[in-house]
Amino acid sequence: MPSRFDLHVNGRAHAVTAEPDMPLLYALRDDLGMKEPRFGCGLAQCGACTVLLDGVPTRSCITAVSAVGAKKITTLAGIGTAQKPHKVQAAFIEEQVPQCGYCLNGWVMTSVALLDKNPHPSDAQIREALTGLKCRCGTHMSILRAVKRAAQA
């Protein structure tokens, strides 16, 4: 049965009516009209749908909307703006990272969480933290440069 769910997204409260097992991704994209978390696999294998739930990178494609509860949802557009980009975003812009850009959400959000926990990661720690994300265009070298740049910012 469709039910009402209150979601706290990027500092604002929203209500959606959905099947409880519907993944959060569809609530964000289809009900709230957000563009940044994206469907890549629906299997938590790529990261394109990543959002932060109370600061923890979470694959919204396998997270039921009913499981979010009161946790605060932050999306890519919620971490920075053109005037005040997050330092990870600033570094990704400076390094001109994306090609198609479809996967970017996962790389940026996971890097934000990494640098929150470990502000000065080694190269190996960056690679480890970003393992499991996919980029089919192959922009990995630019991503590594950007995360290192962000860590120095």
Partner: protein, 751 residues
């Protein structure tokens, strides 16, 4: 040629075109520039089809090519700004949309700059000449006495801007056009483009891409974000056994899901629902009975034997130099080896998305496919519409490196929309992408060389046998080139083609052939083949350049020395020498098997030519002595594509194709059983992960400003797999003759 400047003022948003300005996908620049209304009906021989000037003196470039995210747009902007003497910031581009741009073939064969850029360069040079002549007439001074600085034309104290001269109006200037559309389109005017000594922008780094900020901030609109009022979400149903078709559908199986409508026409079956989650649930729940078909595929282990045994549908003999039969008859030694390459999935970041709004007598379509004009042609044919009644908007989708599933998703959306009378968006689940996208073909390559008593190679034969590199042409310009068209029974017109190595070895006798075999299923196959970045290139050159190393060994020669002995083109010689020098190449014969700690290390070189571009690669690999994990730690690349337009973006373009091709060579193989493709997601079709990315990629760009710019989006894919295989041999003594280069294959060959 007389030059007439049409004085008709542009009427903003006039006439029937107003509607299109409101559609998502038409660019802001296009709206600001006045778009089509200021132009002359998109004639390929009109300057205004490529260049226009706004009231405030900004320049808009229009191209029927598209930038798939490599920054080609900045290349175009630089080429236009250079010729028109304006700052790049004053130039913007409109690309791909069929309403706004001439059919230049979309993204295809690395021709974005190579062909598309040249058209814009010639047009921009002609625009500058036209503007200077207009100013000369106005000032009453000879054109030769005028100077141009950032769009301001001066004769002493007299000044006039491009905007004042022609802003908001169109050039009424004819260009010489070669009467071709697509990739082959060429235009030029009377004006001669600048000589390299006059360049201020070309060849220099630093112009930032326009698409990056929105992508990184999460504000960019992607193909998957297109939404229309009343739009429904569509899903396709695919059979469990490839080749099976629907024979019965139990619609009561989705009764519990609101407002689902099943669309079943001939062998095409899909459904739509207002909510995406409902469409997904319904696609999972819908009970379809499929026809009984014989399992269509051989055992995967037998695929290469199948290729060897299959009848050749077409033999191409692309190169025949000298008498190879005589060379082999006279040989003191014959070397032969066979190489095998699997099917690859495009495996784009997401299953493709298409949106279509089919109305009575007209269609509006949004596609992430890289050939929007062909998409228009295919939709027009499918629904019997005049082409001018079909608008196709190009939107950046989830990645595209050739013909992935975009054309299929777009046509599926169009068929569903037509059936239900509402706009429909199609984006499948992961398996719709990985399992059902078109594939890069599997192949077998046999290379044979005749060596004389002095160790000289006197004859070389290279034979390829493979599935076609594009069973259904290189674009979706006709319905049978899409899954929907095949399921709806359109007659098939297969294309038999693979290709031969690109190189300049001066062996006295050379013969290169390629045989193409029939597909395993003729219609709607999950193993149907299509162009995937450098179609045929990685597999062919994996074979030919691995073989060059085998010949070097057979003739007791260092692999670099061997190539230099036979390379005839000085540009080829230079890339090989440069890559070797940068890599600190130490001449050696055979495998060195150098153990450092837990890893064997090795270097391998390879080189190839693609069109006007040549590239050499040294790969430096580490192979773990216990796990046999292969890691390409460093690459050294020497790349010569003629004139370099934007070196910073070129480097990133090369890096990304190097990473992608490394993934293909080391990790990727489409798996299938007798019934169907079993690679359905990222676990069953793994690609390179961040932990496997190289440590460094050292790129040397050999800039030749005196030459035209060649293609750069694919050439490096060619030599890369062989460079890795050659490095693995140096590290371990194991010759990889079958891709991908997995630990299991390495272990099997270990002695």
């Amino acid at each position: 040629m007389t030059i007439q400047v049409n004085r008709r003022e542009f009427l903003a948003g006039s006439g029937a075109l107003t509607v299109s300005v409101l559609l998502p996908g038409l660019t802001k620049q296009a709206q600001a520039a006045g778009t089509q209304a200021s132009r002359l009906g998109l004639k390929p021989d009109q300057l205004s089809s490529y260049i226009s000037i706004t009231h405030d003196g900004r320049v808009v470039g229009w191209t029927g090519k598209v930038d798939m995210g490599q920054g080609t747009e900045i290349g175009w902007i630089k080429m236009i700004a250079e010729e028109l003497d304006v700052a790049p910031e004053r130039v913007s581009m409109v690309q791909g949309n069929t309403e706004e741009t001439v059919d230049q073939g979309g993204a295809s064969g690395s021709t974005g700059i190579w062909f598309g850029g040249i058209a814009l360069r010639n047009a921009a040079a002609e625009a500058r000449l036209t503007l200077v002549e207009m100013a000369a007439a106005k000032f009453g001074v000879p054109a030769a006495q005028l100077t141009v600085d950032n769009g301001i034309i001066s004769a002493g104290a007299k000044k006039i801007s491009y905007g004042e001269l022609i802003g908001g109006k169109h050039f009424d200037v004819q260009l010489e056009w070669n009467q071709e559309y697509g990739n082959e389109l060429k235009v030029q005017g009377r004006a001669k483009p600048k000589s390299p000594s006059e360049y201020k922008l070309i060849g220099r780094a630093g112009t930032k891409r326009r698409d990056i900020v929105a992508k990184v901030l999460g504000t960019a609109t992607n193909m998957v974000d297109v939404k229309l009022p009343g739009m429904l979400h569509g899903r396709m149903l695919r059979p469990p056994v490839a080749g099976a078709v629907p024979v019965a559908v139990d619609e009561s199986s989705v009764k519990h899901i609101p407002r689902v409508k099943v669309v079943w026409q001939k062998d095409f079956i899909g459904l739509v629902a207002p909510k995406q989650w409902d469409a997904i649930r319904a696609a999972r729940a819908l009970k379809v009975t499929w026809s009984e078909v014989k399992p269509p595929f051989p055992d995967q282990k037998d695929i290469y034997n199948h290729i060897r045994a299959a009848k050749s549908m077409k033999r191409d003999e692309d190169v025949k130099v000298g008498d190879t039969d005589a060379a082999f008859a006279n040989a003191a030694k014959i070397v032969e080896a066979t190489y095998e390459w699997p099917f690859h999935s495009h495996a784009s970041m997401a299953p493709a998305c298409g949106v279509a709004d089919m109305r009575e007598g007209e269609a509006t379509v949004w596609t992430g496919g890289q050939k929007p004009h062909f998409c228009r042609e295919g939709i027009a044919k499918m629904f019997n519409l005049p082409e001018e009644k079909v608008k196709v908007m190009f939107m950046t989708g989830p990645g595209s490196y050739g013909r992935n599933d975009s054309g299929d998703a777009t046509m599926d959306a169009a068929v569903l929309s037509k059936a239900v009378g509402k706009p429909v968006r199609v984006q499948g689940m992961r398996h719709d992408g990985t399992q059902w996208d078109p594939k890069s073909p599997a192949s077998v390559h046999t290379s044979r060389a005749a060596i004389d008593r002095d160790g000289k190679v006197i004859g070389w034969q290279f034979e390829t046998k493979a599935f076609s590199r594009r069973e259904f042409f290189r674009d979706e310009g006709s319905p049978e080139r899409t899954l929907a068209g095949q399921l709806l029974g359109w007659p098939l017109k297969p294309v038999w083609l693979l290709g031969v190595p690109g190189e300049s070895y001066s062996f006295a006798a050379r013969r290169k052939t390629s045989d193409t075999i029939a597909p395993l299923i003729d219609r709607a196959s999950p193993l149907r083949s299509s162009h995937f970045r450098d179609p045929g290139g990685p597999q062919i050159h994996f074979a030919s350049e691995s073989f060059m190393d085998e010949l070097a060994l057979a003739t007791n020669t260092d692999a670099v020395e061997f190539r230099l002995r036979y390379l005839s083109n000085p540009r080829d010689v230079q890339v090989v020498k440069t890559a070797a020098e940068k890599a600190g190449w130490q001449p050696h014969v055979g495998a060195r098997k150098q153990l450092r700690g837990d890893v064997y290390v090795g270097q391998g070189l390879s080189y190839a030519v693609r069109g006007a571009t040549r590239v050499a690669v040294v790969a430096e690999v580490e192979v773990h002595k216990q796990t046999h994990r292969i890691w390409v730690r460093r690459y050294f690349i020497a790349h010569d594509c003629g004139q370099v337009i934007a070196p910073d973006l070129l480097r990133q373009t090369l890096e990304a194709q190097i990473v992608q091709t490394t993934s293909r060579a080391v990790y990727e193989e489409v798996k299938f059983d007798n019934n169907n493709v079993t690679s359905v997601d990222w676990q069953t079709y793994p690609i390179l992960d961040m932990k496997d990315a190289p440590e460094t990629i050292d790129i040397t760009l050999i800039d030749r400003p005196e030459l035209p710019p060649g293609g750069a989006g694919e050439a490096t894919c060619r030599p890369l797999p062989a460079a890795i295989a050659n490095a693995i041999f140096d590290a371990t003594g194991v010759r990889m003759r079958q891709a991908p280069f997995t630990p299991a294959r390495l272990k099997a060959g270990w002695v």
